[in-house]
């Protein structure tokens, strides 16, 4: 296979997704841009409400309508703008086929009244990849084997509640990779799992990536998980990426005050601190966000200009950038 295809697999350009509620407009994603290459893993890190899930739902075009709408931006997958496709094409050729998602909670992600054979067969059936009961059955057994579910052929008729959380997450992963997607989005895949199972899940993701060259976006609030598997990390706050750099830079030389604060709040073994560090203040109310840089009310190093204008992107080492007036 020809190696090193450096043109980006995924290119998100100035994505803006707003929620139009009765109370006002929530700018859930407010100008997000990044690129992802084949076989690369990007982690999107941030607090709840930072916009990380919304960004990925936007890529899949699964924003809850009618309140939510993608108002601006382009999302290019292999050069094709996903936002320009009509829904029918999106559903038939992209969702589940070229772009897939592994969702957060394994306990509720699978339909309780259908067998797992039926559910995993879905993607094959609806994308026309396999025809006939036998063909689909074989494909299902095959993909279940790839996610390391033991004795898949015997368990086709089993129901989700007969599996543990970790197993269920694998089944969800099987559904996601069934059609060989180019882009895989994992939304907090480990949050609902025990610590010992978390590692297994991450290893599974790595194996999948190695086999299929899929581009992986990992959403998480857990910095440890991000460090384990990602090459680059995007830190999001209030709907924007405030810092984007490769994983070593983020952890060794974080630039943005928010990133620094996040790293400080993780207690380290062996360290003796009197008080746990936590970031002062509350996450911003997205209905009435602060002017200028959204982080300034909680920032320890804020400048006067931070209150007035949103900082432009400043490149930092490698291909990263940071949006902060301190570096302009």
């Amino acid at each position: 296979m020809p190696d090193v295809n450096h043109s980006p697999l995924l290119s998100v350009e100035d994505l803006k997704t707003y929620l139009f509620l009765r109370r006002g407009v929530v700018k859930a994603v407010d100008g997000v841009s990044f690129q992802l290459r084949e076989k690369e893993t990007i982690g999107i890190v941030g607090e709840s409400g930072s916009g990380k899930s919304m960004t990925c739902l936007s890529i899949l075009r699964l924003i809850p309508a009618p309140a939510g709408r993608i108002v601006a931006g382009r999302i290019l997958l292999d050069g094709v703008d996903v936002l320009g496709l009509d829904e029918k094409k999106m559903s038939a050729e992209y969702r589940g086929r070229r772009i897939s998602m592994i969702s957060q909670d394994p306990l509720t992600s699978l339909n309780p009244v259908f067998s797992i054979g039926d559910q995993v067969g879905g993607p094959f059936r609806y994308h026309g990849l396999k025809k006939g009961r036998k063909g689909i059955r074989e494909a299902v057994v095959d993909v279940l084997g790839r996610v390391k579910i033991p004795s898949p052929a015997q368990r086709l008729k089993a129901y989700p509640h007969q599996f543990s959380g970790g197993m269920r997450q694998r089944v969800v992963a099987a559904m996601a990779i069934a059609c060989g997607p180019r882009l895989l989005i994992a939304d907090e895949p480990t949050s609902a799992l025990d610590v010992t199972i978390q590692i297994q899940m991450l290893q599974l993701l790595e194996d999948i990536q190695r086999e299929t060259r899929v581009g992986l976006i990992l959403i998480t609030h857990d910095l440890g998980v991000a460090a384990y598997i990602c090459q680059r990390i995007a830190v999001m706050y209030a709907g924007r990426i405030v810092e984007f750099a490769d994983v070593r830079t983020i952890y060794k030389r974080p630039s943005h005050p928010y990133t620094q604060a996040l790293l400080n709040s993780v207690p380290r073994l062996g360290e003796k601190k009197k008080r746990l560090f936590s970031i002062e203040g509350q996450p911003p109310d997205l209905l009435t966000p602060p002017t200028g840089c959204a982080f300034w009310p909680r920032c320890e190093r804020k400048l006067e200009i931070c209150r007035r204008e949103y900082p432009p992107q400043t490149p930092i080492d490698g291909e990263g950038y940071v949006s902060c007036w301190l570096y302009k």
Binding site: L19, L21, R22, P64, A65, P66, A67, G68
Partner: protein
């Protein structure tokens, strides 16, 4: 698919508005505007017909006038303004009979709901509070009673006792007490474990006092909503019985009875079979809508009463 279910945000908005608490005249005016006017209007009209109505009917509801039999309503050809809604097969004015029918329906509904509510609540409270054997017996009784289709039981009873207004009330009470018993039992069971009950027991109150002073006020809301929602159901039930001839008997007037009288003439006189039915529908609608509004306002999360 929407982000938040509309009903939730509407309820939240209502709570917000209430909490902001506009004081004084402005607050009163806005409260007035938020009342459910449509059902209230209907219920007021019915109430008016039931109380004052019989004294102001344009004609004597029982007066026979065979020469004017089966006259259509005033807006149709052949109708006269003297009989605005037409006449029935005996020449009796439909409007006057409908007004009188309202009175009978309201009386029956009132007593029926009162007694079935009282008995049902009592049984429900005993069942829920004392539990054990008493609970088992009462609930078994409820199950058994609900094994016989309501209308069938009503028919048999009505036939055995002499049909008439009292019998109808008795029959309705016998059928409906079970609903109250079940629901009250549920409420009592959920309240039983609460601290204020334990405190009352420690303070030395006997069972009766506890039931009366502590449980009753808390389930009053539910009872009120239930009673309002039952109004329509009871009226339909009574109408069904009267329609079959085992409910209200002449010379009393009931909407159901009017429909039964009208049946043979269905092919020639549409108004006799339609209008009394509309009265039933509107009354039911009013009570259902009002009951829904009541249930929303008396939501336990915002205890008002």
């Amino acid at each position: 698919m929407s982000v938040a279910p509309p009903s939730q945000s509407a309820a939240a908005a209502q709570t917000l508005a209430r909490r902001r608490g506009k004081a004084g005249l402005k607050g009163f005016a806005s409260w007035l505007l938020r009342l459910p006017w449509f059902p209230l209007l209907i219920l007021l009209v019915v109430f008016f017909c039931a109380t004052v109505g019989p004294y102001v009917t344009p004609h004597d509801p029982g007066a026979l006038n065979l020469s004017m039999a089966l006259k259509p309503p005033s807006w149709q050809i052949g109708g006269t303004a003297a009989y605005p809604l037409g006449t029935d097969n005996m020449g009796r004015d439909i409007l006057s009979r409908m007004i009188l029918g309202a009175k009978i329906s309201v009386i029956v509904a009132f007593w029926a709901i009162l007694f079935s509510g009282a008995i049902g609540t009592l049984m429900g409270m005993f069942s829920g509070y004392f539990g054990g054997k008493i609970d088992m017996i009462i609930m078994r009784l409820v199950d058994i009673q609900m094994s016989v289709p309501a209308l069938a039981l009503a028919l048999i009873l009505s036939a055995s006792l002499k049909p008439g207004m009292t019998t109808v009330i008795v029959v309705i009470v016998v059928t409906y007490w079970t609903w109250y018993a079940r629901i009250v039992r549920g409420e009592v069971l959920s309240l039983k474990e609460r601290d204020f009950i334990a405190l009352a027991r420690i303070a030395g109150c006997n069972a009766f006092m506890i039931l009366l002073k502590h449980f009753l006020p808390n389930i009053l809301n539910t009872l009120l909503v239930l009673a309002t929602l039952q109004l329509g159901s009871v009226i339909i039930y009574e109408a069904s019985l009267s329609f079959l001839g085992l409910g209200i008997q002449p010379p009393d007037v009931s909407w159901g009875l009017m429909l039964s009288d009208a049946r043979p003439y269905i092919s020639v006189a549409w108004w006799v079979i339609t209008l009394p039915g509309l009265a039933i529908v509107l009354t039911c609608l009013g009570s259902n809508l009002f009951g829904d509004w009541l249930r929303d306002t008396l939501d336990p999360k915002r205890r008002q009463l």
